[in-house]
C-alpha cells in the first residue's frame, strides 16, 4: 500500500463526511446550524489526519478546533444574535459570481494537482513520529515556535483591547 495504509473505503467515508459538513457550513440558513455543521466538519478533518498517519495533528485538531475555536465562534454567535425580522436574504448579491469563481478555481486547481508531476508515492508512510516531531519543534524550529507563542499573546491582548467595553464612570 502506498503511503502507509490507504483504505479506499475509509477515505470515501471521511471525504463524504467532510464535504457534506462543509457544504452545511455554507448553505445552512441559521447561523447556529452552520456552527454545528462546522464542528462536525472539523471532526471529520481530524479523522482525515488520523487516516494520514498523523495522530498528533488529529489530536491537536480536536483540542484546538473542535474544542476552542468552536466555543469562541458559538460565543460570538450568541453575543451577536439579532434575529429581528426576516433573514430572507442570507446570500449577498454576488452569489452567482461567487459560485462561478469557486467552481472555476476548483477546476483549475484540480487539473493542476492531477496533471502535475508530484513524483512517485513511496511504499511507506513518511509522516514523522512523535519523537522526531518534538525534536524538530524544540531543536530545529525552536525560533518559529517561540515566535508563534508571541503571536498568540499579541492576539489575545489585541482581542481583549478590541472587545473590551469602556465603563462609564459615575
Amino acid at each position: 500500500m502506498p503511503g502507509g495504509d490507504f483504505h479506499p473505503w475509509f477515505f470515501v467515508i471521511v471525504a463524504a463526511w467532510v464535504l457534506v459538513c462543509g457544504l452545511g457550513v455554507v448553505l445552512f440558513k441559521k447561523v447556529m446550524y452552520s456552527a454545528v455543521s462546522m464542528v462536525f466538519c472539523f471532526l471529520g478533518v481530524a479523522f482525515a489526519y488520523a487516516l494520514l498517519n498523523a495522530p498528533l495533528v488529529a489530536i491537536i485538531q480536536i483540542l484546538v478546533y473542535v474544542g476552542a475555536i468552536s466555543i469562541v465562534i458559538i460565543f460570538a454567535i450568541m453575543l451577536t444574535e439579532v434575529q429581528t425580522g426576516g433573514l430572507e436574504l442570507f446570500f449577498n448579491r454576488q452569489t452567482l459570481a461567487a459560485a462561478v469563481a469557486a467552481l472555476a478555481g476548483a477546476a483549475v486547481l484540480a487539473v493542476v494537482a492531477v496533471s502535475a508531476d508530484i513524483g512517485p508515492v513511496g511504499d511507506k508512510s513518511l509522516t514523522p513520529g512523535l519523537k522526531v516531531l518534538s525534536r524538530l519543534i524544540f531543536d530545529r524550529y525552536v525560533f518559529p515556535f517561540e515566535l508563534v507563542s508571541l503571536v498568540l499573546v499579541a492576539a489575545m491582548i489585541g482581542a481583549i483591547v478590541l472587545a473590551h467595553r469602556e465603563e462609564e464612570r459615575p
Partner: protein
C-alpha cells in the same frame, strides 16, 4: 491517480466550498467559519503531502501544526473585531459595512 491525488482533490473541493462561503454569505460570522474551513482544507493538503512524499524531514506536518495555532489567533482577533463592530452598528451583515464608501 494515486492516493495523494485523491487527498489533494478532497482538499481542493473543501477549499472551494469555503471560498464560496467567504464570497457569498452575508453574515460575517459565517464568513469567518468558511475561512476556517478553507484553512482546514489547506492543512489536509499539507499533511497529505507530508505523509506521501516526506521531504524536509517532516516539516510539512509541523507546518500544519503552526497553521492550526495561527488560525486560533486569527479567529480570536477576527471575532473581537466582529463583536466591537456589532456593538457600534448593531449588525453582522457584511453589506452594511459601508462607512468607508465614498
Amino acid at each position: 491517480m494515486n492516493p495523494l491525488d485523491w487527498w489533494l482533490l478532497l482538499a481542493i473541493l473543501l477549499f472551494s466550498i469555503g471560498a464560496f462561503g467567504v464570497l457569498a454569505r452575508r453574515n460575517v460570522i459565517v464568513v469567518v467559519m468558511s475561512l476556517e474551513v478553507m484553512l482546514n482544507a489547506v492543512n489536509i493538503a499539507l499533511v497529505a503531502i507530508a505523509n506521501f512524499r516526506g521531504g524536509a524531514r517532516g516539516a510539512g506536518t509541523l507546518f500544519a501544526l503552526f497553521v492550526i495555532v495561527l488560525a486560533a489567533a486569527e479567529v480570536t482577533v477576527g471575532l473581537a473585531i466582529v463583536i466591537a463592530n456589532y456593538r457600534n452598528r448593531r449588525t453582522v451583515q457584511t453589506d452594511t459595512y459601508d462607512k468607508l464608501k465614498g
